[in-house]
Chain length 200, copies 2
């Protein structure tokens, strides 16, 4: 099997959520595993200097309309959450804490957390809500609650965010195919052709 | 025939250029004419507060790479121009000056101007270069040169830019299908389905 795809996303990104429902199947069609790597858009905004999308005149309103329309287009359940956006340290730290032991269960947790936020309206920026979602999948709630405040787990996430930005990640979703960068679920058509042809 | 599609673009926008090579055929597949309406991204940046794309850390470098890759993906000739981006008052005023008399010839002029900038590397921000392209299509060079400085022609463009922003336009390309807004050539798949199904 060829090198895995690397899938960067923020737990508060609608397009990242939509992409999360498609990326593993896309990889599988071309014999590729996919490694999921949540990051923090807030950290990238400090580097890019860009404002929070929803606060941009004209573009913010359009984007909110486009989130829901794109979800319908891709056939994905979507209920625009409130509050939105949210900080996502809690779900991202939970992810890497689980991933350090079991990447498969970490991906299952990510799916459940995205579903909780973008379908059920659960505010996963609250550590207690992230822990509750994880507990529902059989994770140790007390251990995870402690992990969310563990400096080592915080450093794990920070290192992943820095590494992602070091590779050029500035938005969600952001996918690498053998080092080639693709930003946005609207580049999945290019990813598909890149995987089929080896580049173009 | 149903209402025409409205196609907003900036003469300095790579994605607008790529879209210009596809939009008329897209409309025709669904029995729709397309009205072209150049605008000025610079004017929208004053409203959105966003920086010039190429100056955004990380995103600027990615975008430059994506322009060329997207052109290859869509099978469109593209030579990244220098200087880039450029102000596009000259080509946009030339367009509306011609369009006031003959919309078909205005569209032909737009195609030639985009080709001049994105394939031949001609800096159409220079009024003389825009006039030369128009002259090659049989337009009256002296009359156009005068028109580019005519307050009435300037007002024509300003009114179009204000009207576009009034409808929510903030980026290029930006297409309206029966009032429904779509930003980006990467929404052409959604436009295609919208036209085929009447909305989703």
């Amino acid at each position: 099997m060829s090198a895995p795809l690397i899938f960067h996303f923020d737990f508060s990104s609608p397009y990242g959520y939509l992409a999360s429902t498609k990326i593993d199947a896309l990889g599988a069609r071309h014999g590729r595993d996919v490694i999921w790597k949540p990051f923090l858009i807030g950290a990238t905004l400090k580097v890019t200097g860009l404002p929070v999308l929803m606060e941009v005149p004209l573009k913010g309103d359009y984007s909110r309309h486009d989130f829901a329309r794109s979800a319908r287009f891709h056939g994905v359940s979507y209920n625009h959450p409130d509050p939105f956006p949210i900080s996502t340290q809690a779900p991202a730290r939970a992810f890497y804490w689980v991933a350090a032991q079991d990447p498969v269960r970490a991906k299952q947790l990510a799916v459940a957390l995205l579903q909780a936020y973008f379908v059920e309206g659960i505010n996963i920026s609250n550590p207690a809500d992230t822990v509750a979602v994880a507990k529902g999948l059989g994770h140790d709630a007390a251990a995870l609650e402690a992990a969310l405040n563990d400096p080592a787990v915080k450093a794990l996430l920070k290192d992943e965010v820095d590494a992602a930005m070091g590779k050029g990640v500035f938005g969600s979703p952001f996918v690498f195919v053998d080092g080639e960068p693709f930003w946005g679920i609207d580049r999945f058509d290019q990813i598909e052709r890149w995987l089929a042809t080896g580049g173009f």
